[in-house]
Symmetry: C2
Subunit: 112 residues, 2 copies
């Protein structure tokens, strides 16, 4: 990170993941989704320009890596790097909070 | 929440706290800071219009409550509600991730 706002680990982490979409892509990757079309199809209906931007940032931050899709020749696919996988507990803590404190939420999303 | 993007607890929680600033205010509140001026003085230098907006949203979401400052008569102060305090583990998981994965971060911020 070139110009961190401070040396606070919360601030620096939010510089990477502090928005409404990034952790939803990480959620999808943790669930085994790998293709642009799969992220687009998630119920929140992320706009394709936002999805492209967030995937690029995640790759730049070495949290996600691109690879050639084995299922769809000629297409890119995405997966979490080892570092990216360590965001699992952050996503889990947010999921737990939502389930406990926001009515109407449910953990129905299933791994691919 | 009137129009949640989905019933996913991660998405719904990010609708409340998914930005670069909200959890920094929660961090400050967890550290015992209570006054507008104290939040403004944090090293990230939040702009006053963003601070006002985020405090309003936090109060609307019943995560924060306003009270009359005992130290500064006539001024408002802010504190986490019981519900707001439950964001502690979310902030902690983000802090832990930052300390482990972002060079140059340090947990030097001390309670007031």
């Amino acid at each position: 990170m070139k110009h961190p706002r401070s040396c606070c680990p919360v601030a620096c982490t939010l510089d990477l993941i502090g928005d409404k979409w990034t952790l939803l892509i990480v959620r999808d990757l943790l669930l085994g989704r790998a293709h642009f079309r799969e992220f687009s199809a998630s119920p929140e209906r992320i706009a394709t320009n936002i999805l492209t931007d967030r995937l690029t940032r995640l790759v730049e931050a070495e949290l996600v890596e691109k690879f050639r899709s084995p299922e769809q020749p000629g297409r890119d696919a995405y997966r979490l790097t080892e570092k990216g996988t360590t965001l699992g507990p952050v996503v889990q803590s947010i999921k737990k909070w939502g389930l406990e404190h926001i009515k109407g939420t449910s953990a129905r999303m299933k791994p691919k």
